[in-house]
């Protein structure tokens, strides 16, 4: 069974690629220090996962993590970020409720996904070089939540209109 990639899926992957390149290249070029860089990819994954549920969130997180691992300089080992973002996407998807599609629930999903990513960083530090910068993790999380507060309504709105157009 070969799954067909819908236009919406392509748009989501494209959005993830743009977010990954923005975080790796554009934002540091504008002088944003690394510790204040928001994780735009997690925001894109969480916005879609909160609308569609854990399985979909895990799939999009997996694809997004692969994109982040491949955009230079990438992660090491290759694929670890994919597993981490799959878990983050699944966690954000747990905040899915068919009845409500509001901003608070989406923010909750984003917060959960960001927490999963940082906990993953702690695990990597345990098995790797043994150093974890707690202050940088806190500022990163705050920056991600702040940008999410601005970006999530936009992303949810675009998602809603695209879905409506596809079904119509």
């Amino acid at each position: 069974m070969i799954p067909r990639l819908s236009l919406l899926g392509l748009i989501r992957t494209g959005a993830v690629l743009v977010a990954a390149i923005t975080v790796a290249t554009v934002l540091p070029r504008f002088g944003v220090p690394t510790r204040f860089l928001p994780d735009l990819v997690v925001i894109v994954v969480a916005s879609s996962a909160v609308v569609r549920g854990p399985a979909h969130g895990a799939l999009l997180g997996l694809a997004a993590g692969w994109v982040v691992d491949l955009v230079p300089p990438g992660g090491s080992p290759l694929g670890l970020t994919a597993l981490l973002f799959a878990a983050a996407g699944a966690t954000a998807g747990l905040a899915h409720r068919a009845a409500s599609r509001g901003l608070p629930r989406a923010l909750l999903g984003l917060a959960a996904a960001t927490a999963v990513v940082e906990i993953g960083g702690v695990c990597v530090a345990i098995f790797g070089d043994g150093a974890f910068d707690l202050a940088a993790a806190a500022t990163r999380t705050l920056a991600t939540l702040a940008v999410g507060l601005l970006a999530l309504p936009l992303l949810l709105g675009v998602d809603r209109s695209l879905t409506r157009r596809r079904l119509a």
Binding site: R29, T81, G121, D133
Partner: protein, 274 residues
């Protein structure tokens, strides 16, 4: 896509990802192949995106001149020292050609291995294991080279270790991993001395230089000692080194190109990126 179909797809993709992680950990070449393909594809995009504001072209050239001057100073200082003079006399250690580069990719993931991506690659003459310097000091060494971009491993990566000289003569090595239960501020490096000598806070740490100048040319400033670890009966003296270059604020760097074998001119002629 049905729910069962989606779950099946998820399981298959998760398995493929786990296989990829295991392959990379066990040193297979397939993940590096995938990375180089991705770098060849995305490198030009990153270069184009990073080159959007070109108002600081003059600043770029000015920094290049500063780098050239400092490298020449460091080599002149070392040429007076007899032992290092022999190292510099080897034909490929007279590296003076700097290739100016800009950082176009910074590692932002929690799983990242402290690398940055530059906008110069194979086509500009970059090879693996070259020194990368900034105006303040050592940045790292080139690890992966693609056609349009290359990756630099920074000093605070887990596997990085640099042979250094403290002050005038004490030899040691600097790496990011701390010994035992020593606590380090983020970004600080650990110096391990070769023999039981005394160093003090404030001593400057420079690269010792490798054979042939690869991966490190001699005389580049690595950092300054900020504290010496108290002796708890360990065999080697260790100290805390604050790096001269802040890796989160890198912008313009230079790759130290090896001296071309046919050239007799040992001067510092910088090659502009193509």
């Amino acid at each position: 896509m049905t729910s069962v179909g989606r779950q099946r797809l998820l399981v298959v993709l998760l398995l493929i990802t786990v296989v990829a992680v295991v392959l990379d950990l066990s040193g297979s070449v397939l993940p590096d192949r995938a990375r180089s393909i991705a770098a060849a594809a995305i490198g030009p995009v990153q270069r184009a995106v990073a080159a959007v504001d070109h108002g600081d072209r003059a600043a770029l050239e000015e920094e290049n001149a500063v780098l050239r001057a400092r490298l020449a100073q460091a080599e002149a200082r070392l040429a007076q020292d007899d032992a290092a003079g022999r190292l510099l006399a080897s034909p490929s250690a007279g590296a003076g050609r700097l290739l100016a580069a800009r950082v176009v990719g910074t590692n932002t993931t929690v799983t990242g291995g402290r690398q940055v991506t530059l906008d110069v690659g194979d086509r500009d003459g970059v090879e693996p294991n070259l020194t990368v310097v900034a105006a303040d000091g050592l940045v790292g060494r080139v690890v992966t080279v693609g056609p349009w971009s290359s990756d630099v491993r920074l000093l605070d990566g887990a596997e990085a270790a640099v042979a250094v000289r403290v002050g005038d003569g004490v030899l040691g090595s600097v790496s990011a991993s701390a010994l035992g239960d020593a606590v380090r501020a983020p970004g600080d490096l650990t110096l391990r001395l070769v023999d039981r000598s005394t160093v003090a806070a404030g001593d400057r740490v420079t690269t010792l230089g490798s054979v042939g100048g690869r991966p490190f040319v001699p005389g580049i400033v690595v950092g300054t000692i900020v504290a010496v670890d108290p002796a708890h009966g360990q065999l080697t003296v260790t100290a805390v080194v604050r790096p001269a270059v802040d890796p989160s604020r890198l912008d313009v760097v230079a790759v130290v190109l090896p001296a071309a074998p046919a050239t007799t001119d040992g001067g510092a002629a910088a090659k502009a990126p193509s």
